[in-house]
Amino acid sequence: MSILDRRAIMVDPGVLKNSGHYDAIIVGSGVAGAIIANELAQAGKRVLIVEAATETDRSFKGYSSYLQHFYGQADKDNQSPFPVNRNADMPRSGQLRKLDPLEINSTSYIVQSGPYVTDTVYTRAFGGTTIHWEAKTPRMLPQDFQMQTLFGQGKDWPIRYHDLEVDYELAEREIGVSANVEDQQYLDITFRSSYVYPMHGLPLSYLDQRVAAQIDGSEVELYGERYPLRVRPFPQGRNAIPNQKYDGGKGYQPVGAVASHQIDVGGRCQGNTNCVPICPVQAKYHAGKTLAKAFDTGRVDLLSQAVASRVVIDSASGRVTGIETKLYHDPASPDHHTIMITGTLYVLAGNAIETPRLMLASGLRSSSGLMGCNLMDHAYLLNWALMPQICGTMRGTTCTGGIVELRGGAFRRHQATFSVDIHNDGWGWATGSPASDVVELVDAGNKFGADLRQAIIDRVSRQLLLAFMIEVLPSESNRVSVNPSYTDLLGNMRPVVSFTVPDYTLRGAAYARQFAKTVFARLGAEDHTKYDPSDYGFVTYEGEPFAIRGGNHLAGTHVMGTDKATSVVDTNQRCWDHDNLYLVGAGSMPTIGTANVTLTLAAMAFRSARNMIMQLGRLHAPVQT
């Protein structure tokens, strides 16, 4: 699929002025912006995408340069493939440190206002954070949409699971999800009759199977109810074997690498064990695949190296009249000039930090006062152990299976749910394994030669890491704000994050630790978990120590609801205050349950795109191109 020769205007405001009128200006080329761009373009609308980053990976060569950069970094953190661009900076976990009480750390891109320091990240690159995401794509549970009604906790959504069900199917098609319906029908998740996923599920890893052999069929008891345990495969947004029954027997054609010339890779996952931070062959979905289709229509333009800086409003009508945008010529220099970009509809598709940041920097707090509030992100608690036998850790996709039976249940009246990932990449997230193991065995263990080689096998190939993805409920004081004291090199205000891990979540974390110990006991695994008080994510709950990691599942900051007094956007993600402005993405989600947010926000993007097409139809006839 060729995208290099598609119309994509570069940083040239002269070209922009002559390019005619756009039906929609979309800020951000991540999955939400890409889906909306493509849906609008397929409906004959003209779209301009404004992207802060460079467009390095629009070519296969550009994408591959990320991979080479990743290989060459000594510190392979989850942003390591992406070179520093101070004009469109992004959070990097290596820059963090623990805060003293009331201390604010403004040395990292996200100003950490505490008390909890989040190492959550997102990627400001062409294709957004899908260039980096792991691509786990579970649906939310029906009960997740009614937290207040069913459990007296959090918020209810203004829509229900069945309102999103068809859009979930569209999102699963767009992303190209591999899973088997029979594995995903648990708790109250339902599928329309005869539905199959586009591709068959990926097989469980050998490590998953060793865990399953000991825990499948066992139970845990929580608040008087029993929950059966089983290792289940996760649905994944990466290419596997197409299901011939898909789409009424039409099947599914996987989308591999997008490039300027024929590249036959990425049609199927190879098991590179590197979903995060970058799939080397593009078997994993990234928004560039959707953008390639959008550019193919000839109706979508791209303005890269363009940082949206202010949303300009007509004070009388509340309507957006333009987006002030700073164009920089060189990522290494803050030199830029400023233009005004105009269209009929405006769509902010940053993410749940960047979108409210831009709105707040524009002085737009929402009449609800909730812009930037209710920041949510899954809280991760890591537990790690050595299995009694060699399990072949470090092979597969990052994660193929886990324990999801406690994603829902009556206990949600009292404590957070969690979903448990069995990591195929060992202890890396917790300890820096396996490089840290080698360093320790050589430097402290005084091993070399055959002793060392055997010790590495014993240490690495038995590693099991259980990552508990714990629910976080909305709280108005957990928020993104801005402060003119903290700006980036272009003079744009940076996000300031204030966050406290809620007690409801910490009760879930405390149980998660107990649960991990139970599982390790059933496996005969040697528990090596320890939480360091100097860790930036260190918290205590009822005297017990935990180190909480961010989940990169940012949500809640422009919450969807039924009226303008208590929410920022309506059920189509349109701002109550500005009728030609949509804020799309996980920021609209009232709660996140234990679903990685991308599939749900992609489903909501389809819903919003339909509404935009209807709104544009009411406003004017489609522009002919």
Partner: protein, 155 residues
């Protein structure tokens, strides 16, 4: 020591301390690059000292070589940290900065620091083949291979 003899000795030393064969070491394509890396950090004189210390014990039995390596190389205040850095370089593909105490006593080694000499160094790390896996992001083992037990090579 001639240039070619120097490289051969470096390969023999590398094979000895990693428990990979000289053929496997050559097969990484990184032998000269790594020797240059060591030379670049600690200087040719100290590299020569390391290689000569190993050269003196090559004719001994395996058990004796290990004991001698502990005494004269890994246990040497000057050469030990360098030898350990070479082992880590081969296994991980990263040169890890020498300890501060070493720098104070035997430095300055101006080029020292923690770095990856070339992107290939990561891809060719011996760690991955030792555990029957592959470097994350390269040399993938194929769709579905992960569901089977690992093929951990005997050595």
């Amino acid at each position: 020591m001639s240039v070619s003899r120097r490289l051969e000795t470096f390969v023999a030393f590398s094979a000895e301390v990693t428990a990979f064969t000289p053929t496997e070491v050559w097969g990484t394509g990184l032998t000269q690059r790594y020797l240059d890396t060591v030379d670049g950090v600690v200087g040719t004189a100290m590299t020569d000292a390391l290689l000569n210390a190993f050269d003196r014990i090559t004719t001994q039995s395996a058990g004796e070589r290990t004991a001698k390596l502990r005494q004269t190389v890994f246990g040497c205040e000057q050469l030990g940290p360098v030898a350990r850095a070479v082992v880590k370089l081969w296994y991980i593909g990263t040169w890890y900065a020498l300890p501060a105490a070493w720098q104070e006593r035997f430095g300055p080694a101006a080029q020292d620091g923690t770095f990856v000499p070339t992107p290939d160094a990561y891809v060719e790390g011996l760690l991955w083949s030792a555990i029957g896996a592959h470097p994350p992001g390269a040399k993938a083992q194929g769709f579905g291979s992960w569901q089977f037990p690992p093929g951990i090579p005997k050595f």
